[in-house]
Amino acid sequence: MLKKLWTHYFIPQEKNNHRATLLKPNFLLFFLILYLLNQSVIKTLVIIKPGILGYSSEITVQKVLDQTNNERKNLGLESLSYNSILSQSAQKKAEDMFENDYWAHNSPQGKTPWTFFDASGYKYSVAGENLAKDFYNTESLIKAWMNSPTHKANIVHQKYKEIGIAVVNGTIDGIKTTLVVEHFGTPLIGQIETSSTLTNDSQVSKSSGVKTGNILAGNSEKLISPLTVSKIFNSAIFIVLVIVLFVDGYITIKNNVHRLTGSTVGHIGFLIFIFLLMIYNQQGSIF
């Protein structure tokens, strides 16, 4: 019984008119609907419960920069200049959080945000840090920052002139996530302000200048990332479809069957093209 079902859906034969049932238009439509349904669930989750998703494919440095500056422009402030040294500092901070498995301004080893500014060689009079993780897209990330008074204060700080951004994927506390680090600063010219205060985890000020730090994250419970589940599920559908196409093509060639269907070779070629794009992006900067 199971074997019959299996062959009916996967193997082209006389009973299914020499075309694997899974490749027939009604099943292709079913796959498409299943996929869209799955995507809708993810989008709904983003709205209902932001911050529980894993790797984001949408957030990029350029988008974070553009949208941060848009928020400043809306308030009539000058745009921040992108500074590669500050970006290195942000990158080092993100890498340090992944390496040492923590999510805070200060590392368990006692490194403060300013350790990374100094290590990168950025001399500042004013500096600040915004952190975020588990956001699905740039829009929701910036919106969340702007809804938080302390994060907003960094974004629209009048004294900041430059910004460095890092968007890094990795695993914290066993959960895959995308970390976004914004390092703000103004290069040191002239007199140094001196103050030293340490308030709470979401506001840090210390040493040579005004420095603020902000953390923003969604739920950090140990959950299986729905985005990962979604990707696995969607990839499974995709791979099954390609395998069935290969089997279909092979058996059709072997049995020398003539039938009225689309080109299996063409479909395989097109889907391999899609698959190659997937692989390329896994290795590239988007993921």
Partner: protein, 86 residues
């Protein structure tokens, strides 16, 4: 190596399809902008659909069911890659 009969019969059509897919992939790699990449994927989908119409017209078996099949495969591919990458 097994070469399908349909490829043996119309090798140039498949070579053209292969070239289109390779060009699409190269453009995708060279262009870094997400919006432009999205359009490259749509364009390759449109090219594949046009190819399918020509291919089946030449074969004399261009029928609605075949057109629908191509549309669904292309839609599936585009929706899959768009939903995963963008």
């Amino acid at each position: 190596m097994i070469i399908p009969k349909e490829v043996k019969q119309k090798p140039f059509e498949y070579i053209i399809l292969l070239i289109c897919l390779v060009i699409g992939f190269i453009f995708y790699i060279l262009i870094g902008d997400n919006q432009a990449r999205r359009w490259i994927i749509y364009s390759v989908g449109i090219v594949y659909f046009a190819w399918s119409l020509y291919h089946h017209y030449q074969r004399g078996d261009l029928q609605l069911s075949i057109v629908v099949e191509y549309l669904l495969v292309i839609l599936f591919g585009i929706v899959f890659i768009s939903g995963t990458l963008f």
